[in-house]
């Protein structure tokens, strides 16, 4: 058992190191990564203004739907080239009424309403009505920035590639208030940066729900959104990759989204993401290490699969090396009635660098260094200061957040396995 743990531990370190270094190489491949892309784009002037459809699926969003709608109508784009379809997915609150009142004098906005059938189904229904050359979806808890649409269309013009069928936005957390939201804000910034790197590899595997801009014709040809997947925004991206179309990220096409402020909501959201993610990886498992899908198959898919394994072993080791000794210590202290004062009075700090396990420590330090580097550039990437919300959110972000996520991930796997068994 001991040697097995040892082998798994070393494999975990090695694989993590490999992927981290690989992405550092992607990062330094383009010199002046950040300036280049802005310069290449030039001024935000479009040659053509194609018709754009924006779909807003809403289920019980009476409080936020108008904000979302207003942000769409405020987009910097000719009004007659923008059609908006709000889909009331059988809301039981005032969503329908609120929208009806708001759009009375607005011809470009349509409202459809039906019995609750889920987000993917709602979008497919609206997609049939959508006349735009491109379409975007915008969840009713997200808000798009004024210039985002133009930036995305500019990317389509620049690439001038009919195989480019999704342009993804850079998703930020809207006005984080509590610590959980502030941590998520950091996480989203890192995800934007990771997305930018992945975009360079043509290996994006998520088209975030809020305001990804799709080429209507191709998405229709591919059969629209998958109504069975828990994360239809991942599933569509995998499907697009499988059919050898392209996905690019618009690095500064900002969309803001509400993030859960309580643990329960956070837990539910992540559980859905993980279960959906696992489902997608399983469904597209044949792409793993398949050469014909290029970097997506070789690096991204294997990273996704191994990422899950790393998460499992990571959480296992965290438990074994941190939590278990900690619990043991607590248990031991019960024998001295938790009287730890003598230990504090007679504390002798016995730090000796010989105590340090250099073999593993070296790799861990290296990994930590790379994550700090990416963390820093994730902020440069969006022109934000690292300490925008002080350093307090950074501490849990680096030291406990990923453990919590890992734990939720484990629970999701357990749930998935148990459900499977029930079906059989």
């Amino acid at each position: 058992m001991n040697w097995l743990a040892s082998v798994v531990l070393w494999l975990t370190y090695l694989l993590s190191l490999y992927f981290a270094i690989f992405f550092v190489l992607v990062f330094i491949d383009k010199k002046t990564f950040f300036d280049n892309e802005k310069n290449e784009r030039g001024p935000l002037k479009l040659k053509k203004h194609p018709l754009i459809s924006v779909l807003i699926p809403a289920y019980n969003e009476e409080k936020t739907v108008l904000g979302t709608l207003k942000s769409v109508l405020a987009l910097d784009y000719p009004k007659n080239k923008l059609e908006v379809i709000v889909i009331d997915d059988g809301s039981t609150d005032q969503t329908k009424k609120v929208v009806e009142n708001f759009i009375k004098d607005k011809k470009q906005v349509k409202l459809i309403s039906h019995k609750n059938m889920g987000k993917a189904a709602s979008m497919n229904k609206a997609l049939k009505m959508a006349g735009g050359e491109f379409f975007a979806c915008l969840d009713a808890d997200s808000y798009v920035e004024e210039k985002t649409l133009k930036k995305m269309l500019k990317l389509y013009e620049q690439e001038n590639d009919p195989d480019l069928v999704i342009v993804t936005p850079a998703m930020k957390v809207k006005k984080p208030k509590n610590i959980l939201q502030k941590i998520q804000r950091i996480e989203y910034l890192v995800m934007i940066f990771a997305g930018r790197l992945t975009s360079h590899l043509d290996s994006l595997y998520v088209a975030p729900g809020p305001f990804s801009l799709y080429r209507t014709e191709v998405i229709k040809k591919l059969g629209g959104f998958d109504e069975t997947s828990l994360t239809e925004d991942q599933e569509i991206a995998y499907r697009v990759q499988k059919n050898n179309y392209k996905i690019k990220q618009c690095f500064d096409g900002y969309v803001e989204t509400e993030s859960p402020g309580e643990f329960k909501g956070f837990y539910k959201q992540r559980r859905r993401w993980y279960k959906g993610g696992l489902g997608c990886v399983y469904r597209y498992r044949k792409m793993v290490l398949a050469k014909k899908y290029g970097d997506f198959g070789l690096i991204q898919m294997s990273k996704n699969v191994i990422g899950f394994l790393l998460a499992i072993s990571g959480i296992g080791f965290a438990f074994y090396f941190l939590l278990w000794p900690f619990l043991k210590k607590i248990y031991n202290f019960s024998f001295i009635s938790f009287d730890i004062l003598p230990y504090i009075y007679n504390f002798d700090l016995n730090i000796n660098f010989l105590n340090f396990d250099f073999r593993k420590g070296f790799i861990v330090l290296f990994l930590f260094g790379i994550s700090i580097l990416f963390f820093y550039y994730a902020h440069v990437n969006v022109n934000e200061k690292v300490k925008k919300f002080g350093i307090i959110p950074l501490i849990p972000y680096f030291f406990v957040y990923y453990l919590i996520k890992g734990f939720i991930f484990l629970l999701s796997i357990v749930e998935l396995v148990v459900k499977k068994k029930q079906k059989w």
């Binding site: 190489l25 070789l298 010989l354 396990d357 250099f358």
Partner: protein
């Protein structure tokens, strides 16, 4: 539709190369550190040898040339320091043992050396106590690695060690070191069959001695009852 998708082959290999490079750099540094550790352990044991010689000499001087025992405070200080050094060097040794590729044999030898050191200090402490009238309490602590409740006894002992400092001397005896004949002698001598067992000033206590109980036993062994007063 046949599409040739890009494969960043160069990056795959470069990343692999760098991974192996960093990996082997870590291994090399680790091996280098192992050497330092072994050297460190050797240094410590040489130092201990010198301390022990000094102690023996002090005792000899005390018993043959001095009448009043003026050197007792010095003897006591040396004894205390040596026993403390011994336990901290054991901790380091155990720590290194986990991280260093020491082989089983080396480990056994080092552990036996530690055990014997402990025993000779125990005997020494008993003799010095008689000769100099030191008000200290000696505890022999027999434990086995298979014994699940022993760690709790260990923590209680180290707790009182923190409180009483140099007045309490604890000598842990790991009975798993079967190669060592001294263990057999002690086990028979004290008729020890279960673990943990404590020998406090010659008296035997089997099973875990709880916190309050142990305090009683330690306090009643001091000649000067004031020693325990400050502890509530």
């Amino acid at each position: 539709m046949v599409v040739k998708r890009r494969i960043s082959r160069g990056k795959y290999f470069l990343a692999g190369f760098l991974t192996i490079l960093i990996f082997s750099l870590g291994l090399t540094l680790g091996a280098l550190l192992d050497n330092y550790r072994v050297k460190y352990i050797e240094d410590v044991s040489r130092q201990q040898e010198a301390e022990y010689k000094s102690l023996q000499f002090q005792y000899l001087y005390l018993t043959t040339l001095e009448e009043e025992g003026q050197s007792c405070p010095v003897l006591r200080a040396t004894l205390e320091k040596t026993v403390n050094d011994l336990s901290s060097s054991l901790n380091k040794f155990l720590e290194y043992e986990k991280k260093t590729q020491l082989n089983k044999q080396d480990y056994n030898i080092a552990a036996r050396m530690y055990l014997l050191d402990n025993l000779r200090y125990w005997i020494f402490a008993k003799k010095s106590k008689e000769k100099c009238g030191l008000d200290i309490v000696n505890i022999l602590y027999f434990y086995s690695e298979d014994c699940t409740v022993c760690p709790s006894q260990g923590i209680i002992l180290s707790y009182y060690k923190k409180i009483f400092g140099e007045k309490l001397l604890v000598f842990p005896i790991n009975v798993d070191l079967e190669d060592e004949p001294m263990i057999k002698i002690l086990l028979e001598n004290f008729d020890i069959t279960t673990y943990p067992t404590l020998i406090i000033e010659g008296k035997k206590y089997e099973d875990v001695v709880r916190k309050d109980e142990l305090k009683e036993l330690i306090c009643s062994s001091f000649e000067n009852a004031d020693e325990c007063e400050e502890i509530s």
